[in-house]
Symmetry: C2
Subunit: 338 residues, 2 copies
Amino acid sequence: MKNLTLKDIATALDLSITTVSKALKDYPDVSTNTKKKVKAYAKEVNFTPNAYAAYLRTQESKMIGVIIPQLNHYFFSNVLKGIMNAAEEEGYMVIILSSEESYELEKKQVDRLMKQNVDGILMSIADSTHDTEHIDNISKQNIPLVLFDKYSKLSECSSVIINDQNAAFTAVEHLIKSGRKNIAHLRGPLFPQNSIDRFLGYRKALEKHQLPYKKEWVFTCHDITSDEGYTYAKDILDKHPEIDAIFAVADMPAIGAIKYFNEQNISIPEQIAVMGFSNWKISGLVTPALSTVNQPGETMGRKAFELFYEELQLRKKGEKFAPKIIEVETSLVVRDST
Amino acid sequence: MKNLTLKDIATALDLSITTVSKALKDYPDVSTNTKKKVKAYAKEVNFTPNAYAAYLRTQESKMIGVIIPQLNHYFFSNVLKGIMNAAEEEGYMVIILSSEESYELEKKQVDRLMKQNVDGILMSIADSTHDTEHIDNISKQNIPLVLFDKYSKLSECSSVIINDQNAAFTAVEHLIKSGRKNIAHLRGPLFPQNSIDRFLGYRKALEKHQLPYKKEWVFTCHDITSDEGYTYAKDILDKHPEIDAIFAVADMPAIGAIKYFNEQNISIPEQIAVMGFSNWKISGLVTPALSTVNQPGETMGRKAFELFYEELQLRKKGEKFAPKIIEVETSLVVRDST
């Protein structure tokens, strides 16, 4: 049977759509009489609003939930774009929530999405998340889960990642091959796997080429901002003039460093080379343009949706789904800062 | 009555939550017997999934839909952040859709959101939208609607905007007061009101100070990109060496122009001053840092949600709601490029 709309009811009862909607919602500005009439008719024709009628028929909400650690973050916006485009093609809508890098908020958002009966959850884990019980619960509730970028090695679910260690290794090796010997690292916070892996890639490249590794040449960016890069660039000039290259965990600290060096008339890359990570749009627009590692966010988002969709189809058929790890290729982007 | 959860059913029947969920969804990997048992019990206890139970009780989905013209756009990401934070405080979830600046897609997205029974729609109109029937239909269906940034003067609904004309006037007057006489404008596309208004503000400032307005000093950025700014900067140097300042409709074209001038060793602002609009994060990070107009996206998003919420409460009480236009204050941000 065709599912009736508000408009059908309005036509049948010779009322406006607004009045029908208000009557069903029990708004006080519709007369008791009209309300009675509308409700009786809605009951008679078994009226259920669109989305709910579809849900009752299919037990699917055609909605997925996405949790990202930060809004207004170029890389995550790119991932969202990939997810949303792929979701659109399959007729899914996307509820987006942010964890603001908070473990507590992340737990709450997972809970909200499950209550909303989403068909799947795609998420990137907050920097402060150290316990993954809330994540493991998603799969237990029969909801497909896909992690992207910041994932957990412990959770049994599909993930879309890059090989951070190899990518960082390649970036630092590029600096070494251009003759740099004293290479500093602006690293990320201590917890997230990708920040650890980029640091390990940096160390490996130094080791392979028998270059010095010094603790005091490693600076921790807690919030991964341009301000942190700016401040550390000053430290480097003041206290470690021997440093001839910087490898940053992300583009923002690298761009902050470039800003400081520009202000001090330090020539880049002649006096000091600067290498970022992620290839944010801005990295091609600063002067000198920043060399970096391209991390294809949109592709990662699309793959994450595809993994969710594949898992859902298998679950519906009652077939076993073995979690998959998809590694998306990165590439070195050499511009003017190295 | 407390609404039962999957877990309650699982406990009662001594099954796993996964099995209960699969049984309700009719997955083939659950035995017919178990399915029967689960479905019978669910019927007996009148089980309805969380979100739907709440909807049936309140006729509210506690979801709003947001349509933006572009994903991965710094200003709109800021607006989303404001909307999402305000929505979170009131317990709303946000479905985000993009129109990709397409009128056809915008119509489709409005339709999808209405079918999803969202409690309200917040949107910024696509550049190519020239007919607003689909927008006017939203209010007719008793769904609160708030437009932000790119709004329509014809639609009877609340809007959150800035005064583009005044803001542009102030920006150009700042250039004039610093001694510039031949000021070019990188304008936006022809349709959207904000691009028209910024152009009008530019003209008004020239008129007031009796400076020349020349058609050939106005360049249209169809996609408002840094590439367009870069190309027009070249045109300006090659064909209009008399120009001593540029006012761009947005930061991206301004940053593209700065990039070109840097490459040509044209000193900014000595030889040519450059002024942007919007205050994207990147504008403070390029060299020289870009002067611009601060357009407070996050505040605009929060106000848009608040207007929706206010309208919903009034509608629920059956009180009349008169659409409101909220004008958010902009401010001039003077940095090194002017």
